[in-house]
């Protein structure tokens, strides 16, 4: 038996076999992971959705939408429609006047008919200079997602709100992962007193109700986006630090670290050039999974009124507006909620897919 294996290896020196005697091509971790990710339909759907959101957010200034703070008087609470705003305004006015007249048991009187025809004239002619300085026929606007209480385009609010939310998610995740990786790696590699102090500190931080601390932080230091980033980053690196520490501890006695150490590499070099790159898989998975949780945290704070402040919007702010208006103007809730939920779904699917794909245990097995 041993003979036959040797024979095989001699015949085909370039072919490596796995434990099922299948030939294995030498692939890098990333090629392998990508191959497995491609097979995961939900993760690919998530990836496509995220690319779509990213494209929309990046190209927002080029899209034919108003600015997120452009208010148009008279366009308040227009329902979502593919017809121009003027027509909807006219219909609404017409409906209201007729309803009032009906209640009094009469037809429209001359004054009211005059008002309606005035409105029709102004709809076709009225111009407005936008915040961007451009002059347009304002009532020809189409609001496919409707408008809010100040006559702002809900679609534009969702897109610009999405920019803010996604940015907070990304920056927050990167910051917390960065702090967590550096502290976790050092703690795992150095060990000893430093490690036990670090872990004690992490334990204490874990026992604190950190969401409450974030709320206090925002209340006490003011509701600026910078404070928001800071508050979220300082409470959220704990899990990453723990996971990375565990990884580093299992890697730090491997041969390549030994080799680096014997050729005179210092702690910093070993940690940052040898150990951390080898935990890249875990780090990427955690970053992906942190983005949606940061978006949720931000939305949670904005929902309580402690997050992003007007005129900026984020998905949390929009959903909060929607909740208070939903009895009569339910589109103000549905569109932002759907936009946000879809993005969170996609991020979670992608994160789960990446975790499966980057798991070294499943290497070369499909």
């Amino acid at each position: 038996m041993a003979n036959s294996i040797t024979n095989k290896t001699v015949k085909n020196e370039s072919v490596v076999l796995n434990e099922f005697d299948q030939p294995v091509k030498g692939v890098s971790l990333w090629q392998d992971a990508w191959k497995r990710l491609k097979k995961n339909k939900m993760a690919m759907f998530g990836l496509l959705m995220i690319i779509f959101y990213a494209l929309i957010s990046l190209s927002a200034p080029l899209l034919p939408i108003y600015s997120y703070k452009q208010q148009v008087l008279g366009h308040q609470f227009l329902p979502p429609s593919t017809r121009p705003a003027g027509e909807l305004m006219y219909e609404r006015q017409d409906y209201l006047l007729r309803a009032m007249a009906n209640k009094e048991g009469r037809e429209l009187n001359a004054v009211e008919i005059e008002r309606l025809s005035d409105l029709r004239d102004s709809i076709t002619t009225e111009k407005k200079i936008l915040l961007s300085g451009e002059e347009i026929l304002v009532h020809e606007r189409v609001y496919i997602f409707g408008t809010d209480s100040l006559g702002r385009d809900v679609l534009a609010r969702i897109i610009y709100g999405g920019q803010v939310s996604i940015l907070i998610g990304l920056v927050g995740a990167l910051a917390s992962v960065f702090i967590g990786v550096v502290l976790g790696a050092l703690s795992g590699y150095i060990g000893g007193t430093f490690d036990s102090l670090m872990m004690r500190f992490v334990d204490i931080m874990y026992s604190l109700p950190y969401m409450l601390l974030v709320i206090i932080f925002m209340a006490v230091f003011g509701r600026a986006i910078g404070n928001l980033f800071f508050a979220l980053a300082i409470v959220s690196w704990l899990t990453v630090a723990r996971v990375v520490r565990g990884q580093i501890m299992s890697l730090k006695n491997s041969e390549y670290v030994e080799a680096a150490r014997s050729s005179g590499a210092g702690t910093a070099r070993i940690v940052f050039l040898h150990l951390i790159p080898n935990t890249a898989g875990v780090i990427i998975v955690y970053t992906t999974l942190r983005v949606p949780s940061f978006i949720m945290l931000e939305a949670f704070l904005s929902f309580l009124g402690l997050g992003v402040q007007a005129p900026f919007a984020s998905w949390g702010v929009l959903i909060q507006d929607g909740v208070y208006a939903m009895t009569t103007y339910s589109w103000l809730l549905w569109f932002p909620a759907t936009a946000m939920t879809l993005f969170l779904f996609s991020m979670n699917f992608l994160g789960d897919g990446l975790r499966d794909a980057l798991d070294p245990q499943s290497k070369n097995k499909l």
């Binding site: 604190l208 109700p209 409450l212 709320i215 949670f300 402690l306 949390g316 959903i319 939903m326």
Partner: protein, 308 residues
């Protein structure tokens, strides 16, 4: 066992002490005192106010005084509502939040474990797919979307449940949507956790032995499988408690329930520092006690844990 419990219980004291200390000094870092406002206050009046609340003393003295009061169970006067103290507000609002939170947790654990058990017994059937789809939705959709959506469907469109308010005005019906929305995310996680651990336990050697002995299926399920499979759920209870506390803040906001969470957000807006600290101390105490309880239950369920 009792020695272990006692030691863990004593360990709660330093944790609470650290929390109170961090809170106290963290809030003192804030720019501007609790009485600084846009209105100009006469310096003498400000001085009198500060003297009344002992804010003119050195920080260390204030800290020791506050610590002493907290140990005696006095959380101090509210800075915003001058006729009442923090204890009064907490006493009024805490029972509502406790009821809401414990109902949600109870529902999440019982229903979640039930769904997990059913899914594991009927693996890859429609029961399994249905409960796991509900679980995916529960995990990914944030609470402040689920709450309003339920409210829209059941209170506004169908008009069978009240949109807001508490038991004293609406009766027990007022609890249904808040409890259900609050528990959905935890129901989902418990269902997924317990499905996986039930599947594992069902294939384990001790269950095979029990079957071989000819025990009844129900006895195997409830006596053998349940005990082993509930371990991951019990260890998830700790994070679930803190999640439900944060969640109840949102739910109380959406459904206008005058509980502790609403007071907390309100006091954060008002910069009512004693109120903020009192609320955080109460929340932390609940959390720390619950985690202690989870540890004890865990030790009881898992004989492999030694009490050293």
């Amino acid at each position: 066992m009792s020695k272990y419990i006692l030691r863990r219980a004593l360990g709660l004291i330093p944790t609470m002490f650290i929390i109170v200390t961090i809170c106290f000094f963290f809030i003192r870092l804030a720019p501007g005192g609790p009485f600084s406002s846009e209105k100009k206050i006469d310096p003498q009046i400000l001085k009198n106010i500060e003297a009344k609340y002992h804010l003119d003393e050195p920080l260390v003295v204030q800290y020791v005084r506050y610590l002493g009061n907290v140990v005696r169970g006095d959380l101090g006067p509210s800075y915003k509502y001058k006729d009442y103290d923090v204890n009064f507000y907490i006493g009024k609002s805490l029972p509502k939040s406790l009821l809401l939170g414990s109902l949600a947790l109870f529902f999440a654990v019982i229903m979640g474990m039930g769904a997990g058990m059913l899914s594991s017994l009927r693996q890859n059937t429609w029961v399994d797919y249905l409960s796991m789809s509900v679980a995916v939705i529960g995990i990914s959709v944030p609470l402040f979307v689920i709450g309003p959506v339920f409210m829209y469907i059941f209170a506004i469109k169908l008009d069978i449940l009240p949109t807001s308010g508490w038991i004293d005005e609406q009766g027990l019906k007022a609890l249904i949507i808040p409890v259900f929305s609050l528990s959905l995310a935890y129901f989902a996680t418990v269902a997924r956790l317990s499905r996986a651990s039930f599947l594992e336990a069902l294939r384990s050697d001790y269950v095979r032995t029990a079957r071989a002995k000819g025990l009844k299926a129900s006895v195997i399920m409830f006596k053998h499988v349940l005990k082993g499979a509930s371990l991951p759920v019990v260890s998830y209870l700790g994070p679930a408690f803190s999640g439900i506390i944060t969640g109840s803040i949102v739910i109380e906001q959406i459904f206008r329930i005058p509980g502790l969470g609403r007071h907390f957000v309100q006091s954060a807006f008002n910069r009512d520092y004693t109120m903020i600290m009192g609320t955080v101390i109460v929340y932390s105490l609940i959390l720390v006690l619950m985690n202690f309880l989870v540890d004890v239950i865990y030790g009881y369920l898992d004989p492999r844990i030694s009490y050293k």
